[in-house]
Amino acid sequence: MHDYNYQSFPLDMDMPDFDAFPRALTVGERAPNGEVLDAATGQPVRLSSHWRSGPCVIEFGSIT
C-alpha cells in the first residue's frame, strides 16, 4: 500500500480502489461532508454549502 500523496505513480494503477469503488459509497447514502478550501479565496468552506440549495455535481481530479 502506497502513501496517499505518492511520489511515483503506483504500479497497481490504483486497481484495488477501482475494484472497491462500487461498495465504497452507494447511491442513496448521505454524501460525506467536510471542510475544503476555496481556491479563489483560500478560505475554508463546507462542501455541503454547494448542495444546500439544489443538486450539485462534484468532479474530483488534479492537474496531472
Partner: protein, 179 residues
C-alpha cells in the same frame, strides 16, 4: 456543462485531490500551499469557471468518496448521493443531469415522484496514446515512463507495447533502460 445548467438550479464544483501522475512539472503534494497552487494553475490552464475546492493534504474527502483519480458524483439538494461514477464522462453525466433537472421541474408542477434504484456500467473509449502525449506535455517524461510501466505491470505487455513504441519514437534519449 456547468454553464448549460447554471440557470436550472444545478451547481458544479471541482474538488482537488492528490496528484494522480506526479512528475517533473507537478510533483507529489507535500503541503497544502502547494496543493492550492496546483489547483489555481489548473483553473488558469483549463479556464475553469466552476468553483475549485481543495481537499486537505491527507485527502479526507477524497478517501470518503472513493479515492479514484477522476470520479464524478451528483448530490441531491437533500445531501444524498444521486449518482456516482468511477470516471468523469460528459455524455453519461449529461443524461443524468438532464433527468435530475426534469424531475425538479415536474416536482414543482406537483407531479408525484418515487425514487427507484438502478445500476449501470457504461464504458468509455480508451485512448492511451493521446493520454501519454498530454501527460508528457503537461507533467513530464517521468510521469510517462511510470504510467507505461504500470500498464505493463497491471494489464499486460501487449497493452503496454504501443505505448513503449510511441515513447521510443519520441526521442531515444528520453527512454530509460527497460522501458
Amino acid at each position: 456543462m456547468a454553464a448549460k445548467y447554471a440557470d436550472q438550479g444545478v451547481s458544479f464544483v471541482f474538488v482537488y485531490t492528490r496528484e494522480a501522475h506526479p512528475g517533473e512539472r507537478y510533483g507529489h503534494l507535500a503541503s497544502i500551499e502547494q496543493k492550492l497552487q496546483h489547483a489555481r494553475e489548473m483553473v488558469m490552464r483549463d479556464g475553469l469557471t466552476r468553483p475549485m475546492l481543495v481537499d486537505d493534504l491527507e485527502g479526507s474527502l477524497h478517501h470518503a468518496y472513493g479515492r479514484l483519480p477522476n470520479m464524478t458524483y451528483v448530490i441531491g439538494g437533500g445531501g444524498r448521493v444521486l449518482y456516482r461514477a468511477s470516471w468523469t464522462d460528459a455524455d453519461n453525466l449529461g443524461i443524468v443531469v438532464d433527468r435530475v433537472v426534469q424531475q425538479r421541474v415536474e416536482r414543482r408542477e406537483g407531479i408525484v415522484h418515487r425514487p427507484f434504484y438502478a445500476e449501470w456500467e457504461p464504458s468509455v473509449v480508451v485512448d492511451r496514446l493521446t493520454f501519454v502525449e498530454v501527460l508528457l506535455e503537461t507533467v513530464g517524461p517521468r510521469a510517462v515512463t511510470e504510467f507505461i510501466e504500470a500498464v505493463g505491470h497491471t494489464q499486460s505487455e501487449q497493452a503496454a507495447r504501443p505505448l513503449r513504441q510511441w515513447w521510443q519514437d519520441q526521442a531515444p534519449e528520453k527512454t530509460e533502460p527497460g522501458v
